[in-house]
Amino acid sequence: MSDIVIDPTTPKASRLQRLRLGRGPTTVAAIAIVVLFALVALLAPLIAPYDPFAVSPRILEGPSADHLLGTDDTGKDILSQLIYGARVSLLIGLAAGLGSLVLGIVVGGIAGYVGGAVDNVLMRIAEIFQIMPAMLIALVIVAVIGRNTTLIAAAVIIALWPQSARIVRSQFLALRRAEFVDAARISGTPAWRIIALEIFPVAFAPAAVQAALDIGRGMLLEAGLSFLGLGDPSTSSWGGVLRRAQPFLTDAWWFSVPAGVCIALMVLSFNLIGDAMGRRGTQGRRAL
């Protein structure tokens, strides 16, 4: 009987790899915009000057002190609609980012860690959802089953998850054979511990980058669905505003321009954040 005890703590991959962001001015601006929109969404009932659904006889009026961004074709205040629209956009966007992140980690993790036939089947399923354009997937789900916020969120997740599953899978595939994982396995660490403490923390960073981008993609899909008339009719969304603005393009710029700018700014901010997260460590030395 030997009294040598093998220390089960193996070289740790790291704690959760820190998602350091570049400190560029664009990244700071992006974060500020996201925070601003999030505050607007949270405080919508307090800051919106009007009920976004309240019609009035003052139709298609330009910006004024009463209506900072004018009114639409039924006299509803556009600024209030945009303020409430931030809620829809953020809700669907965050659901898309989180949902596809979780689904991607589960499916990609299983595929990458188990490998073999399981990997093959799961990746084929992911491929099925990649040969159909995301917009088309989200559109048919909502068009065939029904139009409500929960379903729209689910549809967007179903349309977007394969990308993050692929990313997580390739991480797991590579890390499964990494030295520090071998070391953990040899020292008898149970599989769940290896997955949770050795592989996951490393694989998480690229998945999180994808999640940030998916928030933006989710917002664009939601805006597109609402524009096509497939939004939740009980909410006021930016895409919905643009749908109603289409016949009045020449008459009322305040109807169509601000809503589009809101969508673009919001999506751009998440794309900038994702890009800043992803750029870390990619600027190596090169010969030329």
């Binding site: 664009t26 084929r124 399923i125 491929e127 099925i128 959802f129 990649q130 040969i131 159909m132 354009p133 995301a134 917009m135 088309l136 997937i137 559109l139 048919v140 789900i141 068009a143 065939v144 089953i145 029904g146 933006g216 664009l220 805006a223 597109g224 524009f227 096509l228 008339g229 497939l230 895409g239 643009l242 603005a245 289409q246 393009l249 020449t250 710029w253 169509s256 321009v257 809503a259 589009g260 969508i263 673009a264 700014l265 999506v267 751009l268 794309n271 900038l272 890009d275 190596g284 090169r286 010969a287 030329l288």
Partner: protein, 319 residues
Amino acid sequence: MRRIGYVIPLLIGVITFTFVLVSLAPGDIVTATIGDYPASEEYLAERRAELGLDQPLIVQYVNYVLSALQGDLGYSFANRQEVLPLVVNHLGATMILVVAATVLSITIGLPLGLWAATTRRRAVDNALNLSTLVAFSIPAFWLALMAVLVFAINLALLPAHGMTTIGFVGTPIQRFGDLLSHLILPAAVLAVPETALMIRMTRASANEVLNSGYVLTAVSKGLARGRIIRRHVVRNSLLPVATVMGYTFGTMVGGSVLVEKIFGWPGMGSLLYDSVQRRDTSVVLGVVVVVAVVTLVVNVVTDVVYGVIDPKVREATAL
């Protein structure tokens, strides 16, 4: 032959997806695919018997898949026509749009991507990077609306609607010019995110080449910088970009739903939009299946072409 074994399961997967959707829709398959169209009770009963709705779900599923694989995608009540020929009729217009947008995105995206990768000025690289992110972030349908507003309405430079001028007569060349003028705006809008993707792909691919051993060798040999870029970097970095073509085809068809709707372009996107508004579900599902088939074909073709033009891949698959 090997590729058939790859394509068929994916196609069955797509058809399964549409079957699941219809099963989850309110009502049964027959009422769901008929949508709001008035159909007699006898017809409904006949369809139900035909589809074997009294049979177990699994039998229904197998029948559904088999008939879809044989090209039976159902019947459109709005158009009083079988779905497959209806969708295929609209495929041409969409293809014109998508091909034009692809050509645009390649001619603009490749040089810019190479520039971003090879420039020594970080500001250029950063500016291009920021532009691509902006291009990804602007909703295509809003961009389309703004393009209509600026170029078609305010400046009155280009037509905003349709594929040809109604009642236009002229020589074939004039007719082609007419088509082209209608094509510019929708194709340009559709090309915006694709160009951004092309820039990013080319930049990443060229960066990889720049880090490769043979470029280091060329540098050590004392070759001029411009010569290395022209002879080694450009060629080798373009090949991987070609592989994304199949994938971008799909995303462009997705984007064209919105863009076609705004520009009144008579393609699959417009058909899809109209069918959604009329709750003509069989056409909506038919478009999904046809788009998947075309995407798969494009994927297989790019795969084969890639193998032909890249000796490295050719060798690898031969082994």
